[in-house]
């Protein structure tokens, strides 16, 4: 069966309208929206500080290492941290729900196979 034919299956509409699907979307957004904002503010802060707080950014911490350099290194670390948190959030909070939806999808397809309407490829 082609992708297109199977996409016509009514299970798609049911999944789309089910509360679990909304919950899935909500859990995803609950991570992505606040963290995207935090991440942009954090990068912007670096640019703004560089432009308007040169004195502070040029404060020497150790030898030639100034605040600006440490700030730059922290940008790498924060990028890595957010990616790690994202992976953890998806594994813990989103994937289990997705497996429930999968079970329902499989069951719906099997039901059809019994009726002989849409055998699985």
């Amino acid at each position: 069966m082609s992708v297109h034919q199977r996409s016509q299956h009514p299970i798609y509409q049911e999944l789309h309208d089910s509360p679990d699907f909304s919950e899935l979307r909500r859990r995803y957004r609950s991570f992505v929206v606040p963290w995207t904002v935090a991440f942009l503010v954090w990068y912007l802060l670096y640019v703004c500080m560089s432009n308007w707080a040169g004195g502070f950014m040029n404060t020497k911490l150790v030898g030639h290492v100034n605040v600006a350099l440490v700030f730059g290194l922290l940008q790498f670390l924060s990028t890595f941290m957010i990616a790690w948190l994202y992976a953890r959030h998806m594994n813990r909070n989103v994937d289990p729900l997705a497996r429930d939806l999968e079970a329902r999808y499989e069951a719906a397809l099997r039901g059809d196979a019994v009726k002989g309407e849409e055998p699985r490829a």
Partner: protein, 496 residues
């Protein structure tokens, strides 16, 4: 002119190792699907190394150190942006794109909008962005070989193009995966070992510091102040953050993960690998300020060991760095060539005369030869700058298409084409301006040389507004398609 035997040996060894690993991978790849996406069976650690290997191009290996040397800490935005772009890609588009079941960006566009015209537009843009990115890789190879052996610049470009072509022709993506994983570690070693030795030399010299009067200025981003510097930084951030998702060789890598969980793990490892790598070029730049007054900024990384350590040990370290640089050109060019050849195969080399693997091979030849000729003919813009422009074009075209296509039901085919066209033309103006002999100054120059800050919003707005105006053309399958895109991978819906 420097003729360095160790550097020549290093280049030859990298080329042979690349071909050997590629051939070994060949035995594992058999079908067209293997050629494109390595059968979706690559483990996260290997895949992450491969992504790192492919992503760290000549711009990262040579360009960043040179830019930081000349322009100071402002230029650290390039590596920061290249790393963060990966995060944006992971969170906003990687998973839905994988779930769409499409192999390439044009596949996605066609599936989402049910329009062959959008597909053709995307194909043209993948090829344009890929070539724009390939040209500086080949030019970088030219100057590297020139610096090491005094060979004419075209020779390096031809050597890299030939090795890439042989490898792509013989193995496709699967062998490319092994080659690139190897090349990430080669590149890291090639920068790390000389960096450790050179820092040791610097300490042994009693830690001389560069001329104190300019140092504060150099180590402080945006020290010049003023609106233009701020605009340029902003524009660079937008181009790198949003452009990564539109690079054809980056997106295709996400298909080689077996599932979404593996794709996320891969990305976390990739970010660690990229972060570790990007710590090194600034060290070269700082040392270059002390020892490298005579060095050409474009090849600072290659010349620094020689300048700091006269004699055999310096030559050996320079040879190691040269090997790493060649690994950078080879890996990025291989990934880009596979991606460009992939879309050409599907959209250009069709018909009875071209079938399966044969079409792919014809496409690969075109994908490599055209940018190689362009690299020899075109003026040298500086590697990082040219790559920066490729990011700007990607951010102005595929970023709006992917973000709106994945997250907004209202996108229409007409809107997509209008937005892609607007973004392409506006960012293309920047490319044309940078390549042309015509120069100007003031804001006009600033806006054209770094177009992303205005071209990306313009493309988004056009795509949105035109889609709104043509709302009756929203494809009928959009709800089903959205369920497919947004149901996590654990759900094995049909994904083609």
């Amino acid at each position: 002119m420097i003729t360095s035997v160790p550097s020549v040996v290093a280049v030859v060894l990298v080329a042979i190792a690349t071909l050997a690993i590629g051939t070994w991978g060949l035995r594992l790849s058999r079908t067209t699907s293997d050629f494109f996406v390595a059968s979706r069976s690559v483990r996260p650690a290997l895949n992450a190394s491969a992504i790192g290997g492919e992503y760290l191009s000549a711009a990262s290996f040579l360009g960043v150190a040179g830019l930081v040397l000349v322009f100071g800490a402002d230029m650290l935005w390039y590596p920061v942006g290249w790393t963060a772009g990966y995060l944006v890609l992971l969170v906003l588009v990687a998973a839905p794109l994988r779930r769409s079941g499409a192999y390439t960006l044009p596949d996605f566009a066609e599936a989402r909008l049910a329009s062959a015209k959008v597909r053709t537009t995307c194909t043209l843009m993948v090829v344009a962005i890929g070539w724009l990115y390939l040209v500086p890789q080949f030019q970088g190879a030219g100057i590297t070989l020139e610096s090491a052996t005094g060979a004419p610049p075209w020779l390096g470009a031809v050597v890299v193009a030939t090795v890439v072509l042989v490898n792509v022709l013989s193995g496709g993506m699967r062998s490319i995966t092994f080659v690139q994983a190897f090349q990430y570690w080669l590149k890291l070693t090639a920068l790390l070992v000389p960096a450790i030795v050179l820092v040791g030399v610097w300490l042994g010299d009693g830690r001389p510091s560069p001329d104190g009067a300019t140092n504060d200025h150099w180590s402080l981003p945006l020290a010049d102040g003023g609106g233009q510097g701020l605009y340029l930084t902003w524009s660079l951030i937008i181009a790198t953050f949003l452009g990564t998702m539109g690079l054809p060789h980056v997106v295709v890598r996400f298909y080689t993960n077996p599932d979404g969980r593996a794709a996320r793990r891969t990305t976390v490892v990739v970010l660690a690998l990229l972060g570790a790598f990007y710590l090194l070029p600034p060290i070269y730049a700082e040392l270059g300020r002390v020892y490298g007054e005579r060095a050409d900024a474009n090849v600072l990384v290659l010349d620094l060991p020689r300048l700091m350590l006269p004699g055999t040990s310096g030559e050996m370290l320079s040879a190691l760095v040269t090997a790493g640089a060649f690994a950078a050109f080879l890996s990025t060019s291989s990934g880009l060539s596979v991606a460009v050849a992939g879309v050409l195969t599907q959209d250009v080399f069709r018909g009875p005369r071209f079938t399966g693997v044969r079409a792919f091979r014809a496409a690969a030849v075109i994908a490599v030869v055209v940018p190689c000729v362009a690299a020899v003919a075109a003026p040298d813009l500086g590697i990082a700058k040219a790559v920066g422009l490729a990011f700007a074009v990607a951010a102005s075209t595929f970023c709006p298409l992917l973000v709106l296509g994945i997250w907004w039901r209202g996108l229409t085919d007409v809107g997509a084409i209008a937005g892609l066209g607007t973004g392409f033309i506006s960012s293309g103006l920047g490319v044309a301006y940078s390549l042309s002999p015509f120069t100007t100054s003031g804001w006009f120059d600033v806006l054209l040389s770094q177009p992303a800050a205005w071209s990306v919003p313009l493309a988004f707005t056009t795509m949105y507004a035109v889609s709104r105006a043509t709302a009756s053309r929203v494809p009928s399958h959009v709800r089903r398609f959205m369920v497919r895109l947004h149901t996590p991978e654990a759900v094995a819906l049909d994904r083609g």
